[in-house]
């Protein structure tokens, strides 16, 4: 009887095929969840992304920064990328010929005490356009860049390009025309 009990106890504790299957299923379920919320999530959403153009302003920057921005916009073959300063979140591509800049303005008083606009001699407000992918979120109504980052007019982003670092403020978000 003792031996029988021992054998039974051994059987109870033994690792059998059913246990292995359960472990496999648990691992598969975890892997499935990870896939669902990482890789597949992006793939599914990417198919429903539309092309948008973000217009931005970068205020009170020196001439050298304007040149760096302009140089990026002129680069072809995907070298005109714009990323957030974390270096991993791609914003889009700077559109060729979109970069313009004008002397930055401020208000000053004339001799009669009236406020008038004056221009900085060495600081500029640059504007440009970034071609990007995303959609308007049904949840928030905001433009969701790459399905992840909600943006709106007025959003400020710290971005980097091949040649420089910039702080940009979004001034418009518009969908691309259909023929594009």
């Amino acid at each position: 009887m003792d031996n029988e009990n021992k054998v039974k106890a051994k059987k109870r504790l033994g690792f059998n095929a059913i246990d292995a299957l359960i472990i496999v299923l648990i691992l598969a379920a975890i892997a499935g969840l990870v896939l669902r919320y990482t890789v597949l999530n992006d793939v599914e959403d990417a198919s429903s992304y539309d092309t948008y153009y973000i217009t931005f302003k970068s205020g009170e920057i020196p001439q050298s920064a304007c040149d760096a921005l302009d140089q990026t916009a002129k680069d072809a073959d995907g070298e005109n990328w714009v990323y957030l300063q974390n270096g991993t979140t791609r914003v889009g591509e700077l559109t060729a010929g979109s970069v313009t800049y004008l002397p930055s303005e401020t208000l000053a008083e004339d001799k009669d005490g009236n406020k008038v606009v004056i221009h900085y001699p060495d600081l500029f407000d640059a504007t440009g356009m970034i071609k990007c992918e995303g959609f308007v979120s049904s949840e928030t109504g905001a433009f969701r860049l790459n399905g992840k980052l909600d943006l709106a007019v007025g959003s400020e982003l710290k971005v980097q390009t091949k040649y420089g670092d910039f702080v940009i403020e979004i001034t418009a978000i518009e969908p691309a025309l259909e023929e594009e």
Binding site: A31, T88, A108, G164
Partner: protein, 177 residues
């Protein structure tokens, strides 16, 4: 027969053998770990893929340094990023100096306010060209020993024992592959 019955059964040693289920478990575990690595360390895959390297020359300007600072910046001196402690290039050519100006609001002949560039006496801007071997990758641009080189970025630099201060990068030129 009795002999056979009385014989103690041979104790079977527990031998672990790799079976198909073990293989499946191991594969799934490896797949799961790979997914986690890809998700939390997206740069790892890129790093394994290798990066391009280029020789670049970048210009930095030390704004408003005091005149009379006994700096002795010459060709080939090593430049260190004080934040990382890494060498991020060497001085190329001789540095140049120009006046340090500040903007002040004055009035023109018509009594309208205008910015006037006023030279700040006793201070000047020091411009230095630095050449380095940089790696290039999309999203990071040019990096030298882990320091991203970018226009508009400010660096705390030490140029050998000749000089140290904060400088802003104003230009990047790619010399060669």
């Amino acid at each position: 027969m009795d002999e056979m019955n009385t014989k103690k059964p041979r104790e079977r040693k527990a031998v672990w053998r790799l079976n198909i289920l073990d293989v499946v478990i191991l594969l799934l575990a490896a797949f799961f770990v790979t997914l986690l690595v890809m998700y939390f360390f997206p740069k790892t895959a890129d790093a394994l893929a290798g990066e391009e390297t280029y020789e670049i020359t970048y210009t930095v300007v030390f704004y408003g340094i005091d005149d009379g600072v006994d700096e002795d910046i010459v060709d080939n001196l090593q430049v260190v990023d004080k934040e990382t402690g890494s060498v991020i290039g060497s001085v190329t050519g001789s540095p140049s100096y120009d006046g340090y100006y500040v903007n002040e609001i004055g009035f023109d002949d018509a009594g309208m306010p205008v910015f006037k560039k006023v030279e700040y006496s006793g201070k000047s801007n020091l411009t230095v060209d630095i050449t380095a071997r940089a790696t290039y990758s999309e999203g990071q641009g040019y990096t030298v020993n882990g320091t991203r080189i970018a226009c508009g970025r400010e660096y705390g630099l030490r140029i050998s024992s000749a000089f140290e201060g904060n400088a802003v990068c104003t230009l990047i030129t790619v010399n060669s592959d």
